[in-house]
């Protein structure tokens, strides 16, 4: 048998993609009917989302506290816009870390080695991400503006929806253009983190200085978003034209990372999502330190500290979490009560988890801890030191500001207990068990997902360990005895957790 070929008959990337999709769709029984059904589903979903956001905005407007009767300072469009900007920063950081353009799985293994044009092959991927980002902005931005600012009307929601979609779409299109440069994605991620930090700083400054934000309003109508939409379209076109400049290695690496993150999201596996987002695909500059002899505990702490400062990302996250917690008391929706407690819980857990990279690495490669002359329990306890430091950085200003605002020093006294609890929660979350794919999957709108009993591991400890503060937040004041109760309770929870940690996991 002689292989015959004709270079003139090499198909285009588009043809190869269509051929593959055609066979796969035919096997999956996807015809015109299912395409129309998908379109109908999309239309209904967008309609429901719009109604949902408008409804929330309307109810927030009705329930917004009267500025004259409360301590709420942050009302109007500005604070919400700042939080939306922070969300944009997070989106850019994510886009930079995940690609955004990549080709994983079968595409990477079977399409990329072909001598076909990659522009046609990757066109849908390039177009998809700005559209996904635009859809996210369409829903998220008006929601944030109305929730944070405690204000809302149909006109305002539509205006911010248009702006959100345009800005988010343009940002991701820009990230795609930058991806062509070898360091472009890193720059995009860094720019996103800088934006996140700057807007969080501005948000906290306005809250702390008590600046009036009511007078600020977006002067233009929804049509002002048109130039941004054009920018997003132009960015996508440029990115699509420059696709052939992306190397196959880069496309494979980013695609693999994207696949991991996507599977983690669909299976609600936060542990794997954390691993995927902290993975690096490019060459990274590594700083190293010569560890001085001082015993295994010192070695673990120094290694965890080294990991913390290796990238500015966790440090930025700790600062941003602190700034949001500090400012939350001035936001209409979270100015007091259980909502404020919820913000403390999530931001505290976020700050401590950002510093728990060492524990996550140790969970991924247990051999590292086994090399040390420490029991599994002792190793885990020592892995809690760096998250504890981060938690202290978060807790002290958060509760000091709240104590100063309410005039009750008891709030400041609970800071050490909170730091201990959220650090313990972060370590527990880092050692969260992997989902059991071998067990029966649970039916979900996204298909079968593995039972993730460990999904809330970590957050559960934060919740239980801070129950006395939850009571105080619910009551709206800090009784004299409560700080001591909180300390005793936190120590008990931490002690129980320490006693239970390091036990061999039951295999299923």
């Amino acid at each position: 048998m002689t292989l015959q070929h004709d270079a003139e008959r090499i198909p285009t990337g588009r043809q190869v993609r269509h051929l593959t999709d055609g066979i796969q769709n035919a096997r999956a029984g996807r015809g015109l009917g299912s395409v129309l059904s998908d379109v109908w589903y999309a239309v209904v979903t967008v309609g429901l989302c719009t109604a949902f956001v408008t409804g929330i905005a309307q109810s927030l407007r009705d329930a917004a506290p009267d500025a004259g009767e409360t301590t709420v300072a942050l009302t109007g469009e500005l604070p919400g816009a700042l939080v939306a900007m922070a969300a944009l920063g997070a989106l850019l950081s994510l886009a930079g870390r995940l690609g955004p353009v990549g080709l994983g799985g079968g595409g990477a293994a079977w399409w990329l080695p072909m001598p076909i044009d990659r522009r046609g092959l990757l066109r849908p991927t390039v177009v998809r991400w700005p559209l996904v980002a635009a859809a996210t902005g369409l829903v998220l931005v008006p929601l944030l503006v109305t929730m944070v600012g405690g204000t809302g009307s149909v006109g305002l929601v539509l205006r911010w929806a248009a702006f959100g979609a345009a800005v988010f779409g343009a940002a991701v299109a820009g990230a795609e253009v930058a991806q062509v440069h070898p360091r472009g994605s890193r720059w995009v991620a860094a720019a996103g983190e800088a934006l996140l930090l700057v807007t969080a700083l501005a948000f906290a400054a306005i809250a702390l200085l008590g600046l009036a934000t009511d007078g600020w309003a977006l002067g233009a109508g929804w049509w002002a978003a048109v130039p941004l939409v054009l920018l997003a379209v132009a960015g996508t076109v440029v990115a699509e034209r420059r696709t052939p400049e992306l190397s196959g290695a880069r496309l494979r690496a980013q695609g693999s990372l994207g696949d991991r993150a996507q599977v983690a999201v669909l299976s609600l596996d936060l542990r794997e999502l954390g691993h995927a987002l902290s993975a690096s695909t490019g060459r990274a500059r590594r700083r190293s330190v010569r560890l001085r002899a001082g015993g295994p505990r010192r070695a673990i702490v120094l290694a965890d500290l080294m990991l913390l400062v290796r990238s500015p990302r966790p440090l930025v996250q700790i600062v941003v979490a602190t700034l949001f917690a500090v400012a939350a008391g001035k936001v209409a929706l979270t100015s007091g009560g259980l909502a404020l407690y919820g913000v403390w819980l999530l931001t505290g857990f976020w700050a401590a988890s950002s510093a728990a990279g060492g524990a996550r690495q140790a969970d991924m490669a247990p051999v590292l801890d086994r090399l040390l002359p420490l029991s599994a329990r002792d190793a885990r306890l020592v892995r809690g030191v760096v998250p504890l430091l981060a938690a202290v950085v978060w807790a002290v200003p958060t509760f000091a500001v709240h104590a100063s605002r309410t005039g009750e020093t008891g709030w400041l006294l609970v800071a050490p207990a909170w730091a201990l609890v959220v650090a313990a929660a972060a370590v527990r979350a880092a050692y969260r068990p992997a989902p059991r794919w071998t067990a029966s999957t649970v039916s979900s709108p996204m298909g079968g997902v593995p039972p993730t009993g460990g999904m809330f591991k970590g957050l559960d400890v934060a919740l239980v360990g801070t129950l006395p503060t939850a009571v105080a937040a619910f009551l709206g004041g800090m009784p004299d005895a409560l700080p001591n109760i909180q300390h005793l309770w936190a120590l008990t929870v931490a002690a129980v957790l320490a006693a239970a940690s390091g036990r061999r996991r039951k295999r299923t």
């Binding site: 292989l3 070929h5 593959t20 096997r27 999956a28 595409g107 001598p115 290695a249």
Partner: protein, 227 residues
């Protein structure tokens, strides 16, 4: 006059961060020649192959394939180089046969059906041709990957431990196929741990280690592998 080398590497240093994974590698591969890379696990054989395929940028040194610097973005480069690494990824909705037909069509093969039928036969996959890869054994999936490299035109074949997960009969067939490739003028660069395959191919080998890299004749290389 000696033919122009297809691959020419001099002081080639490869690694995944800024750290080199092995000693600098120097090698030359001429048209119709088979050359093996041997060395212990983690020696850097696969990393060198990834650099040759353009999937990894060299840290230092010279690497020229077809007389030019490696640029995997070039369609001409991809048309001439077939690589089989340790990938285990598939289109979940395509059968064994459809994967091969797609590969052949994507490279402009005109007699796709006869070519694919022949390779299914050669690699013992005829009975599994209508099966989805998820239902194949790991050895059958390995055969499918190898078959994909033979249903398309190539001037250079790069294989990473092709003997992995193959039974002894298939290893012998693979050796025959690779000898036929070389006889037809295709160059073969492979990493292997199998002294039997190396002996059957009668190929020179570049032994890669942490501190040095040297080219040996078949018998000497086999002696190093079995030491």
């Amino acid at each position: 006059m000696a033919a122009t080398p297809l691959i020419h590497a001099k002081g080639l240093t490869v690694g995944y961060t800024s750290e080199a994974v092995c000693a600098p590698v120097s090698l030359t591969l001429r048209p119709g020649e088979v050359l093996a890379l041997v060395g212990p696990n983690g020696a850097g054989k696969s990393t060198v192959l990834r650099a040759v395929l353009g999937l990894l940028e060299p840290l230092e040194g010279t690497l020229r394939v077809f007389g030019e610097e490696v640029d995997e973005r070039s369609a001409d480069f991809r048309a001439r180089v077939a690589g089989v690494l340790d990938d285990d990824a598939w289109f979940p909705g395509l059968t064994t046969r459809e994967h091969l037909l797609l590969t052949a069509a994507g490279h402009g093969v005109t007699n796709t059906t006869t070519t694919v039928d022949a390779m299914l036969e050669t690699f013992g996959l005829t009975e599994q041709q209508h099966v989805l890869p998820s239902a194949l054994s790991s050895g059958q999936r390995r055969r499918l990957l190898l078959a994909a490299a033979f249903v398309r035109p190539r001037d250079l074949l790069v294989l990473d431990e092709p003997e992995q997960r193959l039974d002894s009969a298939m290893r012998a067939s693979l050796a025959d196929l690779l000898r036929a490739e070389a006889a037809a003028g295709t160059s073969v660069l492979l990493a292997t741990h199998d002294p039997g395959l190396l002996t059957a191919l009668g190929a020179d080998a570049v032994v890669i280690d942490d501190d040095r890299c040297r080219r040996l004749r078949t018998a000497e290389a086999v002696a190093v592998m079995t030491a």
